[in-house]
């Protein structure tokens, strides 16, 4: 088992990350994480984390730290234990005195470990307050963070209004010693790893954070050359509607193109995540999401990322492979190698999810499951036939025949049977299965529709009562998620290339001054265009003609 270090850069990335860590169900471990956000974005959490607040500040020679041993960051052991037993503890039953989730968490902290749960205030109130009041990602985080984990970018006029383009972000990274400090934090966590398998990197694609991330990635490539980076470029729903006026639309479109091109050339595998309207997409068929709430949409993306990352954290078994709990372990390197390193070398993949995944009992069940896997990546083509597609699927907690959790062979057989009849099938597909479903912890938002049962099963008739169901009604759900390297991503790439050309590259383009103000010369822009068109050609050799026009 090998360590993963996670990096979260940007507000939305941290929203997703916060949900992600909540799933891991850990109390006395701190994640191997470096999070970067605005100054003041931590809400009521201290940037020194929560664990070290009560250290006596007197002049004692020995400072004692509560329950932290040297191996404290060995998070995966804990998670995998949960995965294996299929019995993830849900900490939803813990005392939350006030309905402000975090405050109650803070207050109860010293006694919580020892005392019996004493629910004075019903969980219902807490859920309600979370639904209405979440403002910062820390508002619903129940995880302890290491003092080195949370980094706040500082500087003048740092809010999302102003911090809205690539150039500003890049400057912020190099201003003062901020970049160096961030790198230093990462080094701190990597130094602890005996054998790091990769870096999981979530970044806000919009706003200046992509500039920060690009600089960060560059220094990672420099310093940790052989550590593979799996990059999720996430986009909040609000970022799609923010543009008003022509000038800003151009700025946003150019930013998207520039940022995608830079980020993709700096990572081994990039996964664009974030739909303009999750609530109206097919991916939320059984969900009930309010797009304006980051707290809602980020939960879906976090669930998908959690599922995708399960194979990284499973114990690798002997050559015989299978155990009764799960199989299909892969490390970050292997996933990247499989999706991006094979013949086609396409670095952009699509993230699909079925949340909750339907059960596999019944004849058409597997087909139904495959059909339910819907993209969380924007601007993808539907029903694109691609004979060279490669995919990695992670399914966990899905029910098989007779209502028990489906084993690896069961899932594999039924999926194979289904794809035999399918019109399009990938060239290569990796499957990883565990029996443990996705736990729904208390701070999880109420986003399930009324067709979702207590264990995530899909009901034939709607539940009575409220329209949306949350952590109190749903204990866990089966999940299926997939990374797909396919030419279905072409529209995404083509749009970015077109925007780059239209607003930045063409003679007299409206945004050429803008890009120059971000610090890019003409030939750098040309290079970016080159990067994008190369990606397109990789997937669609026929498009060669159009990209060689200049």
């Amino acid at each position: 088992m090998r360590e993963i270090v996670t990096l979260q850069v940007g507000t939305y990335a941290n929203f997703i990350g916060s949900h992600f860590w909540n799933f891991q169900g850990i109390l006395t471990y701190t994640p191997r994480l470096v999070s970067v956000d605005f100054q003041g974005s931590l809400g009521s959490m201290s940037s020194r984390g929560t664990l070290y607040r009560n250290i006596p500040s007197g002049p004692s020679d020995v400072v004692t730290c509560p329950q932290i041993s040297d191996s404290s960051l060995d998070l995966k052991d804990c998670v995998v234990k949960n995965v294996k037993t299929g019995n993830v503890s849900i900490h939803a039953s813990e005392p939350r005195k006030k309905n402000l989730f975090l405050q109650s968490l803070d207050e109860d902290e010293p006694e919580r470990v020892h005392n019996e749960p004493q629910s004075k205030v019903p969980d219902k109130d807490i859920v309600e307050s979370l639904e209405n009041d979440v403002q910062f990602w820390t508002d619903y985080s129940k995880v302890h963070y290491h003092p080195q984990s949370l980094y706040e970018l500082n500087g003048q006029c740092m809010d999302s209004q102003e911090f809205n383009n690539y150039g500003i972000g890049r400057d912020a990274f190099s201003r003062g010693l901020q970049g160096e400090e961030i790198n230093e934090r990462l080094r701190f966590f990597i130094e602890e790893c005996d054998h790091i398998q990769g870096i999981q990197f979530m970044v806000d694609n919009t706003g200046g954070f992509s500039g920060v991330a690009a600089e960060f990635l560059e220094s990672i490539a420099d310093e940790f050359t052989n550590v593979p980076v799996l990059l999720y470029a996430v986009q909040a729903p609000e970022s799609y509607t923010n543009a008003r006026g022509q000038k800003q639309t151009i700025s946003l479109k150019l930013h998207d193109a520039v940022s995608f091109s830079r980020l993709s050339s700096l990572s081994k595998l990039i996964v664009p995540v974030g739909l303009p309207s999750l609530s109206r997409s097919d991916a939320s068929r059984f969900l009930c999401i309010k797009d304006e709430k980051l707290y809602h949409s980020s939960a879906v993306y976090a669930s998908a990322i959690h599922s995708i990352s399960l194979p990284f954290r499973m114990k690798r078994l002997g050559p015989t492979g299978e155990s009764c709990y799960g199989s299909g372990a892969m490390d970050v390197y292997e996933v990247i190698q499989m999706l991006a390193g094979q013949a086609r070398q396409n670095r952009v993949t699509i993230l699909d999810v079925a949340m909750p995944a339907p059960s596999l009992s019944g004849k058409q069940a597997a087909k139904f499951l495959l059909r339910n896997l819907q993209p969380l990546t924007p601007e993808t083509a539907e029903d694109m036939e691609d004979l060279q597609a490669v995919e990695s699927m992670s399914i966990h907690g899905v029910l098989g025949h007779g209502g028990h959790q489906a084993s690896f062979s069961e899932v594999k057989d039924s999926l194979e049977a289904a794809s035999e009849h399918a019109m399009t099938r990938p060239m290569f597909s990796h499957l990883s299965v565990t029996t443990c479903p996705l736990p729904i912890p208390l701070p999880f938002p109420s986003i399930f529709g009324n067709l979702v049962g207590e264990h995530g099963e899909l009901l034939s008739s709607p539940n009575r009562g409220s329209l949306s169901r949350g952590s109190l009604d749903v204990e866990s759900i089966p999940m299926a998620a997939r990374l797909r390297s396919s030419s279905a991503i072409l529209p995404f790439l083509e749009n970015r290339l077109a925007n780059l050309r239209k607003y930045g590259l063409e003679r007299g383009a409206l945004g050429s001054g803008l890009v120059r103000s971000w610090g890019f010369e003409k030939d750098e822009l040309d290079d970016m265009g080159e990067v994008l068109s190369k990606m397109i050609v990789t997937l669609d050799p026929r498009s060669q003609a159009s990209s060689d026009s200049d």
Partner: protein, 535 residues
């Protein structure tokens, strides 16, 4: 208004309203920072969203932490922060000087004077003041053995404005020695070669200078020594962990046996690298009293650590990139990028290497080195805000010493320069100027007095008395500054109060530029601003 025709959504402030917005913003910012100036200045307490406390007097820190909204204030703050980036100090002075220039101008503008005339006067006064500064500065000869006393005095002047006296005096020696340690003849001083490390441990007065290096991590093997004397130090950047070959290498195996074979082969090549290091150790460490320490920038995995531990080697992995440079400067030898070029000449030397454990944090001290050109300032303090405060102060102290070495001159402090320059402007320069620009010169001259005035104010003295006493002495030909305890004039030279020449020059240079620009603003247009906000 024409702009309304062009863009009906634009918010517009015109003429006097625009000017007054600028003046008020400058005065507002001045008000915030002015109480922090000088050794008697008060402290600001910043409380974060989570109740985190930060105590500071440092203008630079304040400006970075405060979330300033007003566009004019942001402009001034940026100038001040740039001041800090360039010369390392003088942030507060810049802000209050700009504020004062605006305040003095306001008087004249209210009487109907055109800003352009004032600005012309500023320009003349600025040039004259800079010329005066050249005459006024005290040259210091650096040569091979810099005058330690004068460096200490400059450092003390800076540090006393940031910290309480006893601590400031202690740090004075530390920062002076640190800069002298890393200084190399004929080369620019690279302050990065001073590592600043902090421990939440003991008291602030336990802060000390380590001639050598302190690393914030320890060895990762239980059998490695926690304390070793007479150590050879190998500084290297060699991966000692099993890693997959480069992605895209396109190497595939078709069965489990092949995979095993490949893994074994790669493991072997790592082991060989480790063996080469062990061979070198065995070559140099004959006899029992020598030790061998490997400090690697890349990773070392557990099997390699095991091999090294069995050979009696202490090994640290993933050292900071900068520490590679610092180690070589501190211990000698050279940084090695490949085990193929290992020779005994690559090795550095340290008399003592030991590990200090503090809670779950480990520190490794590399000390007793010969002829170090890099050192570590180890800050100690009982809590985070003390440490942060000391850190900011040390940073400024280091810059002050560095500036002195590079400027080869200092300027008399305690307000002496400002009073002298003001008298020079009023008595000499003003007469040579024709017309109303004279008033600009006068405004500039009076604005200079803001420094002694604020110093007096912060010490609880009467500003008028102090200014009259000081200008009186200057007119008699005595160069005096302000004694903050009694309010009497003193000779800064005798008291050892010196400021940096480059800091002063920078303030005189940048203050009037920004003030002039703000004064010449006749319209503030916030186009697009209200279009972005959806209300």
């Amino acid at each position: 208004m024409s702009i309304r025709v062009l863009n009906p959504n634009a918010e517009v402030l015109n003429k006097s309203a625009a000017l007054h917005m600028n003046i008020n913003a400058a005065k507002g910012l001045q008000d915030v920072l002015k109480s922090n100036l000088g050794p008697k200045g008060t402290i600001k307490m910043l409380v974060g969203g989570a109740g985190d406390i930060k105590l500071t007097k440092d203008g630079n820190t304040l400006l970075k932490e405060m979330q300033i909204q007003n566009p004019t204030a942001i402009m001034i703050a940026r100038t001040a922060v740039a001041q800090d980036d360039i010369s390392g100090d003088g942030t507060t002075s810049t802000v209050i000087f700009i504020g004062e220039l605006m305040k003095q101008s306001e008087r004249y503008i209210d009487e109907g004077m055109h800003p352009r005339v004032l600005v012309d006067g500023f320009e003349i006064a600025k040039r004259a003041t800079l010329q005066f500064l050249e005459k006024f500065k005290t040259p210091v000869v650096m040569g091979d053995q810099p005058d330690r006393e004068i460096l200490k005095m400059v450092a003390r002047t800076t540090l006393r404005t940031k910290l309480y006296e006893a601590l400031a005096d202690q740090l004075t020696d530390i920062v002076t020695n640190a800069v002298l340690c890393i200084r190399k003849p004929e080369e620019a001083i690279d302050l990065f070669m001073v590592e600043i490390m902090h421990m939440r441990h003991k008291f602030d007065v336990d802060t000390r200078l380590v001639e050598g290096l302190v690393l914030d991590h320890g060895s990762r093997h239980p059998d490695m020594k926690r304390r070793a004397e007479n150590c050879y130090i190998l500084t290297c950047n060699v991966s000692l962990e099993y890693e997959k070959s480069e992605i895209n290498a396109g190497f595939f195996y078709s069965n489990a046996a092949q995979r095993e074979a490949m893994v074994a082969a790669e493991r072997r090549s790592v082991d060989e690298r480790v063996k080469k290091i062990i061979d070198l150790k065995n070559k140099v460490c004959v006899g029992g009293d020598k030790n061998f320490v490997v400090i690697n920038q890349k990773g070392i995995d557990p099997p390699s650590l095991d091999l090294l531990a069995r050979a009696g080697i202490v090994a640290l992995r993933r050292a900071k990139r900068r520490n590679m440079e610092r180690l070589v400067l501190a211990c000698g030898g050279e940084a090695v990028n490949s085990v193929d070029d290992l020779t005994p000449n690559c090795l550095g030397w340290a008399g003592l290497v030991y590990e200090h454990v503090l809670g779950e944090e480990k520190y490794t001290f590399v000390e007793n080195v010969k002829n170090p050109h890099s050192c570590t300032i180890l800050i100690k303090g009982p809590n985070d805000h003390t440490i942060a405060q000391i850190k900011d102060a040390i940073r400024d102290g280091l810059r002050a010493v560095k500036n002195t070495v590079e400027d080869e001159s200092v300027v008399l402090g305690a307000g002496a320069f400002e009073v002298a320059a003001r008298q020079h402007l009023i008595n000499e320069v003003k007469k040579t100027v024709k017309g109303r620009a004279q008033l600009g010169v006068e405004a500039f001259a009076d604005a200079l007095l803001v420094v002694p005035k604020t110093l007096a104010e912060n010490s609880g003295l009467d500003t008028q008395d102090v200014i009259i006493a000081l200008t009186g002495e200057h007119d008699k030909g005595n160069i005096v500054g302000l004694n903050q305890h009694s309010g009497d004039p003193i000779d800064p030279q005798m008291e050892g109060i010196f400021d940096n020449y480059s800091v002063k020059r920078q303030i005189i240079n940048s203050g009037p530029v920004i003030a002039s620009q703000l004064l010449l603003v006749d319209e503030v247009i916030r186009a697009g601003r209200n279009m972005r906000k959806p209300n």
